[in-house]
Symmetry: C2
Subunit: 149 residues, 2 copies
């Protein structure tokens, strides 16, 4: 519990109720979008403003405690798994996301064939496909990703 507190202090951020709640929410629910974070946090702290959540997410992202991912066509999502450069599988149908370790083990694709003079510091991989539930036929629930039109 006080683990989060230590994390915050480590990056010299003040320890506040909303920040702890956001970290807890992200630990329990990886890959959620901002709106879901707000809902989750309010389960504990009913009175936090959406603005506070945006600020907290920004602060935590800048501090490197959470990572922000944004699959094309969807809203921003956050996760607490940082440090290792892992990637994501995204379901085209329902928007579900799962973690995937890098195919070759570590930074495999980091060397582009022709870097055009760019100094590359990170390679981000998104695998697009269909999740088991959607493959099975029955669309599980909301199709937030692309079908949102």
């Amino acid at each position: 519990m006080t683990d989060f507190e230590a994390q915050l202090r480590a990056v010299s951020l003040r320890v506040t109720r909303p920040r702890l709640a956001v970290l807890a929410a992200l630990r329990d629910h990886p890959h959620v979008d901002t709106d879901t974070v707000i809902t989750l946090v309010r389960a504990d702290l009913p009175s936090v403003s959406h603005q506070a959540i945006y600020d907290v997410l920004r602060a935590l992202t800048d501090a490197g405690l959470v990572r922000r991912i944004r699959p094309a066509g969807a809203n921003a999502r956050y996760e607490t798994r940082v440090g290792d450069n892992h990637h994501h599988v995204v379901c085209r149908s329902c928007g579900a996301i799962a973690d995937v370790d890098c195919a070759a083990g570590h930074t495999p694709c980091l060397t582009a064939s022709d870097d055009h003079g760019f100094v590359i510091d990170e390679a981000e991989v998104v695998y697009w496909g269909t999740c088991p539930a959607c493959t099975a036929g029955h669309t599980p629930n909301d199709p937030p990703a692309e079908g949102k039109r």
Copy 2:
């Protein structure tokens, strides 16, 4: 020129002035965002509505004539290079984008180490870094990507 016309007919889309203009704009300016497309198209056809551009881009994307890319934190961008699965280097500082062929030649990372039961049909790679101009010190112009706050 009538090349575009053939492309449109091939996917049974009607050949219209705005569509030809969009295709021409994307051929001459790869990786531009929607707003730039609108500006470019209006150089030829001053009276096209932004709505028309959105519709055209959607139609062309659905038809597979153009590809839509969306680096995290930036607006949607489009390119006409489709069919080969190439990737992109994006400059964190100025948002510049360049094409990059897949490191291993073709679909190298397409096999995730653990696919979680997902049926993967595409791997999308974004290399993050700094472009030559920005590395040289002098920020060329606008920093649209992340620095936009």
